[in-house]
């Protein structure tokens, strides 16, 4: 893949920019080039609109935390990720696409199960899930696709248990989630997939209302839906969000993280030798920084004129915040393109920043800590069973990763 690097600040490069084949982990050169410019510049997205592009760590954090910047997908000027996400934005609307105070009211209904103490209580269960899957992996044929055999089932089993969704239905919701996260999905397919998922969650919520169990959907059904704080439709959309978010992100972190570690054997050794939770926790933060996963920019729209970094973002202007370059900002992370599990990477923005910062981050952290501290130790000879050049990367995904990761041991 060739790249056109332009240095003219107002040159309207298409966003997202193509990534160089040379290193799938690095942000596109053209995007990095923007980072050296102090002022904000514009890009052109799929619908011809020209939102502002934000690439530096300080600027990304400041604007994501700015109350004059809106996450409301129904506002005009909002820079949608794809035709599909624009078409379905009204029906799919949940708290991630709303502003305060509505956002905060709805978000707080589902924060309880993600508290740190609850995560500690859930850790043995996640460890058991990971261990069982590794047992199966070791007992089965090789090579095997690590995505299907491990990276996807771990977060899927965990989020299903937490929400109270029967894992037996995973074929159905994983199929629809795939459509939702592909930028290339046709608008009508995105709408159909969201409708199918919402209907599925709606039926499940009805069942939970009648027969509540110990899970988050039962909580929502009996507390918020029964008392009229949420309609069942709203609750179902919230369920879709949690289910989809719980899948795509962590699964990609596991598969892509494994690939990154296999390419950096000295760093993989750090994890294999780690026998304290602090080293593992730091490694997780560094892999989150290095990989970022969300490579399509966090999308916002300005509510009023904001003068920032030498420009005036006008009310109604779209804003695209590139977390993957913020996480490679040399001002904050020296030698940023080096995967260094020993560095302090906590200030990364892989979970976003501001009031919309990822709700599931304590869960994601815990899952990744369990997985990274278990998989490479229990399968010490783990190796890629194909050439990296043959891997298909999710260049068209809202979340970056690999479609398949054939491994052997």
């Amino acid at each position: 893949m060739t790249e056109t690097v332009s240095h003219a600040p107002d040159d309207l490069t298409e966003f997202p920019m193509p990534r160089a084949a040379r290193c799938p982990f690095d942000p596109p050169e053209a995007l990095r080039a923007r980072q050296t410019e102090a002022t904000l510049s514009r890009v052109r997205i799929w619908d011809g609109s020209t939102p502002w592009l934000v690439t530096r760590h300080d600027q990304v954090r400041a604007l994501l935390a700015d109350p004059r910047v809106s996450s409301d997908v129904t506002r005009s000027g909002f820079p949608h990720i794809s035709p599909g996400s624009k078409a379905g934005s009204e029906v799919r609307r949940s708290f991630i696409n709303m502003d305060d105070p509505e956002h905060s009211r709805m978000r707080r209904m589902v924060t309880a199960p993600f508290a740190i103490r609850k995560m500690q209580a859930l850790r043995p269960e996640v460890q058991r899930i990971a261990d069982d899957l590794i047992d199966d992996l070791l007992a089965g044929p090789k090579p095997v696709d690590l995505v299907q055999a491990f990276a996807l089932p771990v977060p899927s089993l965990v989020i299903c248990a937490l929400l109270g969704v029967p894992y037996a239905d995973h074929g159905l919701f994983q199929r629809h989630t795939k459509v939702l996260v592909r930028r290339s999905s046709a608008p009508e397919d995105v709408s159909a997939a969201s409708a199918a998922l919402t209907d599925y969650l709606d039926a499940l919520l009805a069942e939970k209302q009648a027969h509540p169990e110990e899970d988050l959907l039962s909580d929502i059904a009996t507390r918020q839906v029964a008392t009229g704080q949420l309609t069942r439709q709203q609750a179902a959309r919230m369920g879709v969000l949690l289910l989809a978010a719980g899948h795509e992100t962590t699964a990609n972190m596991i598969a892509l993280g494994t690939l990154a570690l296999l390419r950096n054997p000295d760093q993989l050794d750090v994890l294999r030798a780690a026998d304290d939770p602090k080293t593992v926790a730091a490694a997780v933060e560094e892999l989150l920084r290095y990989l970022s996963i969300v490579h399509s920019g966090r999308r916002r729209v300005a509510l009023e004129d904001i003068t920032y970094a030498g420009v005036t973002i006008k009310a109604g202007d779209g804003i695209v915040l590139a977390g993957e370059t913020a996480n490679r900002d040399p001002e904050v992370f020296p030698d940023p393109d080096r995967l260094d599990l020993g560095r302090d990477a906590r200030r990364h923005v892989a979970f976003g920043f501001g009031v919309h910062q990822c709700l599931g981050q304590p869960l994601a952290r815990m899952e990744l800590q369990v997985v990274y501290s278990t998989l490479y130790r229990r399968v010490p000879t783990l190796a890629l069973a194909t050439d990296i050049e043959r891997l298909e990367f999710k260049h068209d995904g809202a979340i970056f990763g690999v479609y398949e990761l054939p491994v052997t041991w």
């Binding site: 994501l64 935390a65 905060s104 978000r107 707080r108 924060t111 309880a112 993600f114 508290a115 740190i116 103490r117 995560m119 926790a281 906590r346 200030r347 979970f351 976003g352 920043f353 501001g354 009031v355 919309h356 910062q357 990822c358 709700l359 981050q361 304590p362 952290r365």
Partner: protein
């Protein structure tokens, strides 16, 4: 060092609790609770880091 938390702003990310569990806790909804408004010096670095990573600017520090 004197610490204040702004609970209405907190988005329950849990980062302060991970970094400085002797100073911050979470209530049943995951919202920050301050355990120690005047932490001893050995906690100062972790508290400063908590304020820096708090996505919602819900932690305020004042010298004392």
């Amino acid at each position: 060092m004197h610490v204040e938390v702004d609970q209405p702003k907190c988005v329950a990310s849990g980062q302060c609790v991970l970094l400085a569990p002797d100073v911050f806790d979470q209530d049943d909804d995951g919202i920050v609770e301050l355990l120690d408004a005047d932490p001893s010096p050995e906690h100062h670095d972790d508290v400063r880091e908590s304020a820096a990573v708090c996505p919602a600017a819900a932690i305020r520090l004042a010298p004392r």
